[in-house]
Amino acid sequence: MAGIIGYGAYIPRNRIRVEEIAKVWGADAPSFKKGLMLEEKSVPSPDQDTITMAVEGSKRALKRAGIDPREIGAVYVGSESHPYAVKPSGTVLAEAIGATPDVHTADLEFACKAGTEGMFIALNLVRSGAVKYALAVGADTSQGAPGDALEYSAAAGAAAFLFGKERLVAEVLETYSYTTDMPDFWRREYQYYPQHGGRFTGEPAYFAHVTGAARGIMDRAGMKPADFRYVVFHQPNGKFPLRVGEMLGFSKKQIEPGWLVSKLGNTYSGSSPLGLTATLDIAAAGDMILLVSYGSGAGSDSFVIRVTERIDEVRDLAPRTRKLLDTNKVYLEYGAYAKYRRKIRKAE
């Protein structure tokens, strides 16, 4: 049986509150807070990007896995904010953790589901026996256009998962992907900010794909919502994952441990993977977890996961995700945020 042998999370310490953004653009903060269930979001420091967060998340996954990084045969970084247009993030990551040169590396991009894409590939390479261990990271420092609804949610964070066949923290029992062509969110080459279809990103995009993947995997596994202790959905805002859970028949109690978005924002490729790290942090041996990502464009990857007894040995070998989210925070004003996110045009 193949599965997760180590996991790690990274969240920058900077935060900006919804009110701080709303006051600059003359928007109504309470409507964002109530309508989208967002309070604040993480912001990367100027010296942090997808690569630096991927490295730190991966080091934590390695601590929990307790393996020699030279035995990692594949490294995948899923992100829509790779620092280079041409030059892989994965080579920096593989070099920084000491996995080079006997390693296969690729950068993946699929809006918010690039992280689970990497997990899917890493898991299946391990399953097939092509590599002993494989590392998959979902990381993003995403940008919403100033004043756009996405600016209230686009956040930064990374989650890393090591896959193997021994030392399992969680077995992956089933996977299923649900994919169609969907013009709900995109960014063209050389464009700084993405565009989206507004309300169109709901029903035919997020909800259709997440329910399609969740129902598809439960059919395959012969399971129903009550068979799971926890469920983690992609979290573009606070409301969507709660609503999709309700549509599928999951309770708030099953969703809440991995529901980080109101204080974290949408970390794109890191979103549902970070939710999974927070859920593993509190899970017990035998717990079943359903993970369903969503990436615009569009697709959902789903995983049925069963936690093993090793979870108790490893969870405190690295910081828990809720601790990263709730402690050591600093709040930015919009000016500093705009500088950090390079929204200010400077002289050359």
């Binding site: 420091s45 010296d47 990007d49 690569i51 630096t52 730190e56 080091k59 920096v92 070099e95 500088k339």
Partner: protein, 130 residues
């Protein structure tokens, strides 16, 4: 700032804290050396530095060199790592008021600088409070 080739040569140290340990006397050289300054021997084995330590001294840079202009004011410190090696690096994610001699820090992977909008991005280690 360094050229891409110099940056590349320093990757084992900047990314992975790889030092050289003298086979004869155990002296740890970071970055690695050809000749041991302690005993003159020429054989070293690779060693990885500890990833944590404590601040020995620090300063606040308010008038920075050009690649760091946007970061000023920022802190630079010397820390003694848990294996005894002393290392200089930026101290980040730390309010200046909390910065003091003896502060526990760990090494974190960060962007050091970049060659404008189009050039190479330089990565390496910085100190962050534990």
């Amino acid at each position: 700032m360094p050229t891409p080739s110099r940056y590349w040569r320093e990757i084992p140290q900047r990314y992975r804290m790889e030092a050289g340990k003298c086979k004869a006397c155990g002296f740890v050289a970071f970055p690695p050396r050809v000749v041991c300054p302690a005993c003159g021997a020429r054989e070293f084995v690779p060693a990885k530095l500890a990833d944590g330590g404590k601040i020995l001294t620090y300063t606040i840079i308010r008038v920075p060199p050009r690649p760091f202009e946007d970061q000023a004011p920022y802190a630079v410190g010397i820390a003694e790592l848990d294996d005894g090696v002393k290392l200089t690096a930026q101290v980040v994610d730390c309010d200046f008021a909390d910065l003091k001699v003896g502060l526990r820090v760990r090494l974190e992977f960060r962007k050091l600088s970049e060659e404008g909008e189009a050039g190479i991005i330089y990565y390496g280690y910085k100190f962050v409070p534990e």
